[in-house]
């Protein structure tokens, strides 16, 4: 890959070389299984506990409240299904929003088929959940509220602290999918009033296949992975020691640089949007103009379809995603954009550009120079654009 301009950091990020370096010895030198009793195992178990403390530190949690998982999807599945199972005597009603990640929506649909009820609170045109709407959705049999911290498509940041206060007042457990927000904006469990929180390493320059769940001490959950006695008997499976070391190193480093990097990326992001908006007619921002992740830009381009833009940008060595989950095999438009009231044809024509550490001003200017021509060409090809 010579000279790729990667602008899809919401999909995944490169593992920081420093993170990879920290991981390496745990593959083939200090390879012990942390569940064993001899030095090699004890060393591994020690580094896992140090990693747990590092993660806890970033989140303002107690190390005993951090559980390592295989990623954001497992954390979300565990939170949803684990709480649903453990609290079904209290009730079988859960509350979420219409713009959650599939790793929240699909476990909830699974529960619905098994007799649970789910209320999906709508969002406004900017993708915001109204804490009052959450309050109104609470019933005596509500056992969990799950609202994401920041949306993965448009970057809108939800009023989690307020929703958490609503949940606490009602005595209902509150989970947030913070996969997109951790180490990008401040995430402290106490400030956010959350009981459960999901994160995933590969979104903040850590490795793929490892994540964590923050579970406040008082929370009862049924395990998702049953088996050995790892993770205080709540999550079985040989610990992914290199992955855990990588997660801890990555979250610490990324969170340390967060403020400066957020300022840098949001300045680039705004320059990008201004540049595109000046040069391309009929493009419109999706998501909240300000209450938004610093690196996130999502917009719709009238008269053309997302995948075609992605392919054309790729031909110009620029990697981005569309708002439409075209890869899933159906041509369904993004449920997030639809939930925000965007018409299906506009949802199909939406593009997500999410910046990261490596992006420079030159990258931005290159995209500003290149993208208008792509749009013009595709619009020329389009049977529906004739302005």
């Amino acid at each position: 890959m010579e000279n790729v301009i990667y602008m899809d950091h919401a999909a995944t990020t490169p593992t920081d070389p420093e993170v990879l370096k920290a991981m390496e010895p745990w593959f083939d030198v200090q390879y012990g299984n942390p569940a064993t009793l001899y030095s090699l195992g004890l060393l591994a178990s020690q580094v896992v506990e140090e990693s747990r403390s590092a993660v806890a530190d970033v989140l303002g949690a107690d190390p005993a409240e951090i559980y390592f998982t295989s990623g954001g999807t497992e954390s979300n599945n565990w939170a949803i299904k684990g709480v649903a199972d453990a609290h079904q005597k209290k009730g079988r009603h859960l509350i979420t929003s219409t713009i959650e990640h599939h790793a929240i929506l699909e476990p909830l649909e699974f529960l619905e088929k098994r007799g649970y009820e789910v209320t999906r609170v709508p969002v406004d045109g900017a993708g915001l959940v109204d804490p009052d709407a959450v309050r109104r959705a609470i019933r005596p049999d509500t056992i969990l509220i799950s609202i994401m911290h920041a949306n993965n498509e448009v970057g809108t940041i939800e009023p989690i602290a307020e929703i958490g206060a609503v949940a606490r007042e009602a005595g209902v457990l509150f989970h947030t999918d913070a996969v997109q927000s951790v180490a990008k904006i401040p995430v402290k469990v106490a400030d956010l009033n959350v009981d459960i929180l999901s994160l995933s390493a590969h979104k903040f320059y850590g490795p793929k296949g490892v994540g964590a769940l923050y579970l406040a001490k008082r929370v009862r959950v049924t395990p998702l992975l049953h088996g050995g006695a790892q993770e205080r008997r709540r999550r079985a499976g040989t610990l992914n020691v290199p992955g855990i070391v990588g997660l801890a190193k990555a979250i610490h480093k990324t969170a340390d640089q967060m403020e400066a990097e957020a300022a840098r990326e949001s300045a680039l992001r705004d320059r990008l949007w201004e540049g595109l908006r000046e040069r391309i007619p009929h493009i419109y921002l999706n998501g909240h103009p300000t209450q938004r992740l610093p690196n996130a830009l999502n917009f719709r381009v009238e008269g053309i379809e997302g995948e075609a833009m992605i392919l054309c940008l790729d031909m110009n060595r620029v990697g981005v995603s569309s708002g439409s989950a075209c890869t899933t095999g159906s041509l369904e438009p993004s449920h997030v954009l639809l939930a925000m009231g965007i018409a299906a044809e506009h949802a199909h024509g939406s593009i997500r550009m999410t910046l990261g550490r490596a992006n420079t001003q030159e990258d931005i200017d290159y995209v500003i120079d290149t993208f208008p021509g792509i749009v013009a060409r595709l619009r020329e090809m389009s049977p529906v654009y004739n302005k």
Binding site: E305, A308, M315, S324, T327, G329, L331, S382, P383, V384
Partner: protein, 125 residues
């Protein structure tokens, strides 16, 4: 994901555009589904003298549109009506399984344009 031939057609689509004063126009798909195609044809002595397309859609939609115009040009109407969606996909060396539905537009669009032409002929007669 796509074969080299599909990408080649996507990069350099053949017969892109609109025939002014076309003899037949076919429109299939719809923007709400993210896929739409318009085919215009010029017919002389029952032969497709010219075929052009406009397409809103993914890489497969564009490539199949381009391919179908190439396949149809110079064919008699009867021959052109034999072109199937499957045939278009095959001529492109296949499409990813989750993109097969996109190839369902191209031949349909062509057939719609021919039928439009035939209807106009009948109306004239």
């Amino acid at each position: 994901m796509y074969s080299e031939l599909v990408m080649e057609h996507f990069r350099n689509p053949r017969n892109m555009g609109v025939i002014e004063e076309a003899d037949g126009v076919g429109e299939v798909g719809n923007p709400t589904c993210g896929d739409m195609m318009r085919i215009t044809i010029k017919v002389k002595d029952d032969v497709l003298e010219d075929v052009k397309f406009q397409t809103l859609g993914c890489g497969a939609a564009v490539a199949t549109s381009s391919m179908v115009t190439e396949m149809a040009k110079g064919k008699t109407l009867d021959e052109a009506l034999e072109i199937s969606n499957k045939g278009v996909a095959e001529s492109l060396g296949g499409l990813p399984p989750n993109k097969m539905h996109c190839s369902n537009l191209a031949a349909d669009g062509l057939h719609a344009a021919i039928e439009d032409y035939l209807e106009k002929q009948t109306a004239k007669a």
